[in-house]
Symmetry: C2
């Protein structure tokens, strides 16, 4: 007999219901990034299904980049790593030429009424209070990106109250450790505009310069919007490659 039962509509395929079950455990935080999953044979036995079927469920989540398989080692909850995302768009060259995380300087952190373009994306009431940050990102002391960041105050109050000195170059690990909010996916939206006087000053631009504007809505596994940010960098160092079929 099967020790565990599958959630969801029993007219759905078994592998789909198992995938949903595992996904829920990850969404709940019962299984966290880096955790090892039960083996495929283990899952099959636990749920009283065939190994091939358990395998199909795992394949589904591997495909959705929620899990990672390693031959001989096991299957693990994937750690999302987002700061590569910048590298997809901008070619940062440090003097050494290494792939590096840009330094972060927080210029402002305050609570303000959310403007409508933020409120919509974060799915909060227009004019409701939200945490607003302005941040500069630098490589070798050269400013590269100016960022405007918004967080729903209800979920991130502890982040707002923590000392600025304790905030490092990466925010997402802090969101997790301080507020228990895990960023698992994001939508990004890329446009071009001319630099405003304010941005020109921040990025130390002399002449009218086209900017790449990268808007990102970062979400939890379940799709709840957690952070909205807008990053602006000079288009000169912008380059994006794709392969299409």
């Amino acid at each position: 007999m099967s020790a565990k039962t599958l959630k969801g509509d029993d007219r759905l395929p078994i592998y789909q219901r198992l995938a949903d079950t595992l996904m829920t455990e990850i969404t709940n935080g019962q299984r966290r990034p880096g955790d090892r999953m039960p083996s495929e044979n283990g899952l099959a036995e636990d749920y009283g299904i065939s190994t091939g079927t358990a395998r199909q469920a795992v394949a589904e989540l591997v495909d959705r980049k929620v899990l990672e398989r390693f031959h001989g080692k096991g299957t693990f909850v994937r750690r999302p790593s987002f700061d590569q995302s910048l590298f997809r768009f901008f070619r940062f060259r440090s003097t050494t030429g290494e792939a590096i995380i840009p330094e972060s300087r927080i210029l402002k952190r305050s609570i303000e009424p959310a403007p409508s373009y933020v409120a919509t994306r974060l799915e909060i009431e227009e004019g409701a209070e939200a945490i607003n940050m302005s941040r500069l990102r630098l490589v070798d002391n050269e400013p590269l990106l100016a960022e405007e960041i918004w967080l729903p105050v209800t979920l991130f109050r502890e982040f707002f109250e923590m000392p600025a000195e304790d905030i490092g170059d990466l925010l997402y690990p802090i969101y997790d450790s301080v507020c228990n909010q895990l960023i698992a996916q994001a939508e990004e939206d890329l446009t071009v505009e001319m630099a405003s006087p304010e941005i020109s000053r921040l990025l130390r631009l002399k002449e009218p310069t086209p900017l790449i504007v990268l808007e990102r809505l970062a979400k939890s596994y379940s799709g709840k919007p957690l952070e909205w940010r807008r990053s602006r960098g000079t288009a000169e160092q912008f380059r994006y490659k794709t392969h299409i079929r």
Copy 2:
């Protein structure tokens, strides 16, 4: 016994060798876009393997977007459709608001020595002769994109010699029918620059305007470079959305 044999190193997995075999048939042109593949049971029988294994081979090619499966109908060689690619980057709005193929106007078609940036990508000798076209793409008679197109003269001589009137809005179907050259994949590369006087005139721009520059190297199934083009459009109508995990 098995009627057909699999190509390739027999230390490779069977599904991999079957996928390679099918891929070769497609690369050769023995199976063309739109063609129906043998059924999964048929493949299994033909090669004396299990249905699950045949299915795995098909899954591989579906994943690589070479095949498409339709439940109850069969599996088909996918028709690559590239002119959607523009829609990934530019939001064209016709007056009706429909998804449309922009009209094409060929401004120039000549044979010239290939500049080095073209020769490198097309893998021909620098300074070797190549077909060069200049093309304007319009929606509702508004110029939207200026394109510079290069083709290796060895493969596309018949295209060069055909009457301009017979060339429609889409080039890839012509490449196929006239020169037997099938575009199956492409690399795209996106950057930003300010409009030159020449481009400003072509696109009827009044003021200095940032442009999106989309460079595309189009290739055959086997990866042989067939066409290089550079398209420029105003950044105003540029927008690119992604989802990342």
